[in-house]
């Protein structure tokens, strides 16, 4: 039988072998999360889009899909913010600058920035969802003229779990950013808002057809955020969601990341809401 799908000269890359990159800086964000700065071999650019991810590989431990947290506009090394939750992330938490880690990617579609250009950008991030969204936020900040308003709604379980506190403080002061934050449970010295993330949305004054929104957070969050956004009259066409599923290969082969018939590592992780209306497992 002929291999009909194979065209002559088809490139078959080594799909699973990672490149060895170097951790150049490690910064503790909270008790659970750490920010890693990573240099690709030879200082090469990763060449990613906001919203894309890499597979991080530790030999003898495994691999995990991790979002790229830095914006491609900030050239050179890239950043990842990682929460300690299991096998690989726990081992990684003990890593210091100078350690080598394997990297495959960038993978996934990422955010189609062109859909946001010239529009008001609304970012809704819950918990660790801020990590990938930070790539988009800094992209917009670095090319501020290309976008309208930048509205950031960030929800966290508690104020001790807020990520990137220095950047949050900067956004708070930055006149070019409308920054809103809420925590589910505040510590005694928390002076900000308390309540779940959806409580941030009703008060927003949005220029509706001109606002495009991207949402990223824990699985439970999406349904409620989408309902609230719809309730405000934001058309589905203006809503993008970054979804998470178990992954193994990152390259559309292993089948783990499926949502109904869609592969998150290929068609996602960023989905246009109208496209997932038919994916009943999505939200």
């Amino acid at each position: 039988m002929e291999l009909q799908i194979l065209k002559p000269g088809l490139e078959t890359r080594e799909l699973y072998l990672p490149e060895m990159a170097e951790i150049t800086a490690v910064r503790r964000l909270t008790e659970m999360e750490t920010l890693y700065t990573v240099k690709m071999p030879g200082g090469r650019e990763l060449g990613h889009q906001p919203g894309q991810f890499v597979e991080v590989s530790l030999f003898g431990v495994g691999e995990a899909p991790i979002s790229i947290s830095s914006s491609p506009t900030r050239h050179g090394e890239f950043e990842m913010g990682i929460r300690r939750v299991g096998m690989l992330t726990e081992v990684l938490a003990g890593y210091q600058p100078g350690r080598k880690i394997g990297i495959r990617g960038p993978f996934g579609n990422g955010i189609d920035v062109s859909k946001f250009r010239g529009k008001d950008v609304l970012i809704v991030a819950g918990g660790i969802g801020l990590v990938p969204m930070r790539s988009m936020i800094n992209y917009v900040l670095d090319r501020r003229d290309e976008f309208g308003r930048l509205i950031i709604c960030y929800g966290s379980r508690s104020d001790t779990e807020l990520l990137f506190t220095d950047e949050l403080a900067a956004w708070e002061k930055d006149p070019r950013v409308e920054y809103h934050v809420t925590v589910d449970r505040g510590s005694p010295d928390w002076r900000g808002r308390t309540g779940v993330i959806t409580t941030l949305l009703p008060g927003l004054q949005l220029d509706l057809p001109n606002t495009v929104c991207c949402v990223c957070g824990p699985p439970v969050m999406y349904r409620f955020v989408v309902l609230t956004l719809r309730g405000k009259g934001l058309p589905d066409d203006n809503i993008y969601l970054s979804l998470e599923r178990r992954m193994k290969c990152g390259v559309g082969k292993c089948g783990h990341c499926q949502i109904n018939g869609s592969y998150v590592c290929q068609d996602g992780p960023v989905y246009h809401l109208p496209d997932i209306a038919k994916l009943r497992e999505a939200l």
């Binding site: 003898g60 431990v61 299991g86 096998m87 726990e90 081992v91 003990g94």
Partner: protein, 249 residues
């Protein structure tokens, strides 16, 4: 665990089939010993306030004294590992839980029964927090090695949670149901490389159950292959008597 971990091994009611020293690790034993300090071997358990990085504990708990000892071991150990089906699930020992305790004592100890207070056989996890399991009767050696390596490397150990059928299919075995036998593979936790069905034997479930077993479904399946319903549940209970207490409606 940057320095050599201090390892202790303890042993409760069991058949000694799991005993580490008796296992046939071949050339791996030296590699293992090179990486740890064995601080106490088996029963040795004196009053020294010794502490261990890893305690391996074999056997089910069946006397008040066992309970005292396991609490003590837990206090002294950073990581506690249950070795073998008795320690993990109560094992076949837990079968006695199905009979009134007095009857068991009379049967086992005869007229001396009152000298030996016994409890229903309990897995370690019924009394203390258990960090890891090495399942099987006798315990699965490959799993012991995987766990051991993970612990020494300081990484977590992901216990397999899929049926024995998975490995049986990877090995392309003929299913024993094809030969009119019955098999507990579909609800039994894999990780043994289906070592029984590889030899045409049926799986008796020595590695315990997967995390969400469909027990009623399994009993139905056994019944549809010719077992009476009572017998089907008895088969399921052999290694899972503790976990199945009160399960059957």
């Amino acid at each position: 665990m940057a320095n050599k971990p201090r390892v202790a091994i303890f042993d409760f009611t069991g058949c000694e089939g799991c005993e580490l020293s008796q296992l046939n690790f071949e050339d791996q034993l030296l590699d293992i010993l090179a990486q740890v300090d064995i601080v106490e071997w088996r029963e040795a358990m004196d009053d020294r306030a010794d502490e261990y990085d890893i305690a391996f504990v074999e056997g089910a708990l069946s006397t008040p004294d066992c309970i005292k000892r396991i609490h003590d071991i837990r206090r002294r150990s950073k990581v506690l590992v249950a070795l073998g089906s008795c320690a993990v699930d109560g094992g076949v020992n837990a079968i006695k839980n199905l009979h009134p305790i007095e009857e068991v004592r009379a049967e086992v100890y005869g007229k001396d029964q009152y000298l030996f207070p016994t409890l229903p056989a309990l897995p370690l996890s019924a009394v203390v927090k258990v960090d890891h399991n090495v399942r099987g009767c006798p315990m699965t050696q490959g799993e012991f090695l995987r766990l051991f390596t993970a612990l020494v490397m300081g990484k977590q150990f992901a216990e397999p949670d899929q049926s024995v059928c998975v490995e049986c299919k990877l090995n392309e075995n003929e299913c024993v149901f094809e030969r009119g036998m019955i098999c507990l593979g579909p609800v039994t936790r894999g990780g043994c490389n289906s070592q029984c069905t590889n030899f045409g034997q049926y799986c008796i479930g020595c590695r315990g159950l997967v995390s969400e077993p469909n027990l009623a479904g399994m009993a139905e399946t056994l019944a549809s292959h010719g077992l009476a319903m009572d017998e089907a549940w008895k088969r399921l209970q052999l290694y899972n008597a503790y976990r199945l207490q009160g399960v059957r409606a």
